[in-house]
């Protein structure tokens, strides 16, 4: 029984794109630079904030220990507290999102208002979690990444264009671009506001069939 070839994605038709999501297909924004490597999910959202039972409010505690003093006052030297750097794109050093599988990290990033994270390397689980929350992880070459940091260093108003439809990212300060790798299934999901559970639910019969075969195979 052949079940692949869902390229026409008929299951998408009934879905309405989420407002403010990737429905528009592209985004131009200034960036928040974080030139630190191996930023782990314990930094993105420390464990003591994981006690909530819903997905709301995590953005307030994004990078909490780098961002706030013990008394709750902002650490002025941290980039999120620097009014020069704003925007919907976070640009970080390599191996972003390593460590814990907590999806709270993706909720914190999305909740804060980021739609894109750019790095030269992402940890696997974070990447999935981001995509499942409408945040696009964009992998660029180390050189391209270094150049973004340089451009932003020179001019904090530097913008990037992230075009999901054509799968390109452009550094508007230099005009240079790289392509964005994403499989067509996930791309469709983002553009149409469809998620994996919708897909899996549409495959219930197939799952039951699989279970039957599995239990009678010997």
């Amino acid at each position: 029984m052949q079940t692949s070839n869902n390229t026409n994605n008929s299951y998408l038709s009934s879905q309405t794109p989420p407002s403010g999501g990737w429905g528009a297909g592209s985004l131009i924004s200034s960036v928040v630079p974080l030139p630190i490597e191996n930023v782990d999910t314990d930094q993105i959202i420390p464990a003591r904030f994981l006690k909530a039972t819903d997905k709301k409010g995590f953005g307030d505690n994004l990078f909490a220990d780098w961002r706030f003093n013990k008394d709750g006052s902002p650490k002025t030297e941290f980039v999120l507290n620097d009014p020069n750097y704003t925007g919907e794109i976070l640009v970080a050093g390599k191996n972003f999102g390593s460590g814990s599988s907590r999806e709270h990290a993706a909720w914190a990033i999305a909740g804060y208002g980021f739609k894109v994270v750019v790095s030269s390397f992402f940890a696997d689980i974070f990447r999935n979690n981001a995509l499942n929350n409408g945040v696009l992880p964009v992998v660029v070459s180390p050189e391209f990444l270094a150049e973004i940091f340089e451009s932003v260093n020179k001019d904090s108003k530097t913008t990037l264009k992230v075009d999901l439809k054509s799968q390109t990212i452009i550094n508007n300060a230099t005009g240079k671009s790289e392509s964005i790798e994403i499989n067509s299934y996930k791309k469709d999901c983002l553009l149409n506001g469809f998620d994996d559970i919708d897909y899996l639910l549409s495959k219930k019969e197939l799952i039951e069939e699989w279970e039957k075969k599995a239990s009678t195979a010997h």
């Binding site: 390229t7 220990d65 191996n95 814990s100 907590r102 899996l200 495959k203």
Partner: protein, 496 residues
Amino acid sequence: MRKEKDKDNDMTTNTKQISPSGFNESSAERGRGASTLFDKIWDAHVVSTIEDGPTQLYIDRHFCHEVTSPQAFNGLRERGLKVFRPEKTTMTADHNTPTKDQHLPVKDPVSRRQLEAFAKNAEEFNMPLFYPLGHEKNGVVHIIGPENGFTQPGMTIVCGDSHTSTHGAFGTIAFGIGTSEVEMVLATQCILQSRPKTMRITFNGRIKPGVTSKDLALYMISKLTTGGATGYFVEYAGEAIRNLTMEERMTVCNLSIEMGARGGLIAPDETTFNYMKGREFMPKGEDWERSLAYWKTLKSDEDAVFDKELVFNADDIQPRITYGTNPGMGMGINESIPTLDQIDEAGRISFKKSLDYMGFKPGERLLGKKIDYVFLGSCTNGRIEDFRLFTNYIKGKKKADNIIAWLVPGSWKVRKQIEEEGLDKILEEAGFEIREPGCSACLAMNDDKIPAGKYAVSTTNRNFEGRQGQGARTILAGPLVAAAAAVNGKITMPTP
């Protein structure tokens, strides 16, 4: 090479399904040439594949805890869904639980609410395998799985916790997932995953006496770095791995994620079967025999090709510690922290930031460094053998006065065994006490937090900034190094 392999899989995976319990037809026999153990298990669990997209994978066992599941159950409620196969999910409270007085109501109201939500979800969704605080089967999720026989070779296993890789020690595909994926598993017993690449890491030789499997794993992570295995599923092989006990193998597989791997697995053998036999949720009688016959087929074919192969020599490995703020920043206990010129330029900002946080200097040696806390526990080193090793070293010695030690068994069963073997008496005489089970200071969500600026030698898996408490400085090590630190009050070579 890889491309071809993928294509091959895509064409064949849907045509033939094999049972995850008791099937006996290997991929090789299906005429597809040599396969790795990972390929065999993966292929047997493919329900469908999406062209230029992920694979729909059937999940045999799902573990669930209170911190990463509430939003998933909420999702089911919002969509009006039931749990599809409740008997395939095992629930235990561990991350956010106190390690003292578990019979009393949890003091922190936010933690209490999360635990109550967990219980409510178990009830509302009719989950039969629910082990709340104090239950005899309660404990850290990756400890209670193998301990009770939920973890069996050839399975696909997931949990909303990255150290799910632990279960790979039994020859399973086991990996951590996010909460959206927890919801998928609850709703459909499936998830969508891209197929990872395969890597084999072979350890020749044998680890020396006084060196633990934790040292072996820390050695490997420092060689690969924290991102060195990202995108891969690792199979561990070689004489040194074969000679490990099941608990030692679990420690190695547990730490796979710390080098970025999706997971790590070890082919099952007699050591595995001896450990499993008779455990509560294992097949019994004829079923056991039939399963055993299948489990024995679970190994990589001789000529299987991995996307990447690494070979290490286990004889070289010394007791190890970490000096920085990720598990890859490690060294032999008598070595020195790298100097700045040994670090590549792009990494220097992070390296300096890390050493600043730890209060260490480039080039510094840490042997003899005074420390404040010792933590024995977690899904990495919270099993009975870890407590035996620790106690054995402590016997006849005394805890150093400057040390606060938290000894937290991984489960109630581990704690019971500690008592049955009389280890608790020996530890008490030396000035230690055994606490109640849970994740505890591994992630410091409960009250067990290392204070800011204090040094902890910890048998856990992560030395990230703030992982064990805001400002806490974690030095990762095995149970023997932890024991030596506990009696000497400083970092010491654990010679008997």
